[in-house]
Amino acid sequence: MSNELIDFVLVSIALLGIGIYGLSVKRNAIRMLFAVEIIINAANLNLVAFGRFIPNSGGQTLALFSIAIAAAEVAVGLSLIIVAYRMYQNIDIADFRSLKG
């Protein structure tokens, strides 16, 4: 059971790439939220991995903060989606034309 840092970092790069792909391709607001979540998780993985290999509790602490803020972000994001859905009966961001605040 021995893993090296590079393995984790590679996984996190892959996740980051998938997230970027999702963000750039998908036009569905919820899918874009998925992509954002994947990117945040990739970052968290990196934080914890580096924290483990430079034995230090800071990595984990930062990961906790990051997860907590992700929760806040999802709450707000989904509320936005609900509002948009209620206004346009759609969740395709291409249709959110008149989001002028």
């Binding site: 059971m1 893993n3 090296e4 290999f53 906790l64 997860i67 907590a68 929760a71 709450a75």
Partner: protein, 124 residues
């Protein structure tokens, strides 16, 4: 060694897997030995109290209590954060309680507002 603690957790996953392995055959056996008749298509309609169902089964259905789920996402984080504090409390100096009290105070304010908002049923 990296990953030496993970072994403890494998048994939980094994237990999960065992239950799946043990229960899936129950369904399979049941499927094998139970009688099946596809004579009547009415049988597979959704059950609606002896009525032929009307409308969609899954609709855009919003309970007036959606706010509580939104609140749960945030306050769940708060509750688990308190565990990080609580488990380390015996090793901390007493002054370390002050930040958590500040944390709780802010969250209380937010919770009060949120509960006030979600208590107004008509706006949901």
């Amino acid at each position: 060694m990296v990953g030496e603690l993970a072994g403890n957790y494998s048994t939980v996953v094994l237990m999960f897997g065992f239950a799946v392995v043990a229960m899936a055959p129950a369904l399979l056996i049941s499927r094998m030995i139970s009688p099946r008749k596809k004579s009547n298509p009415v049988k597979f309609l959704p059950m609606e109290c002896g009525q032929v169902p009307s409308g969609e089964g899954r609709t855009h259905f919003m309970m007036q209590y959606y706010a509580y789920i939104l609140m749960f996402v945030v306050f769940d984080v708060m509750a688990i954060f308190l565990y990080a504090w609580g488990s380390a409390l015996l090793e901390l100096p007493k002054s370390a309680t002050l930040p958590i009290i500040g944390f709780l105070a802010i969250m209380f304010a937010a919770m009060a507002f949120a509960l006030y908002q979600s208590g107004k049923r008509t706006i949901w």
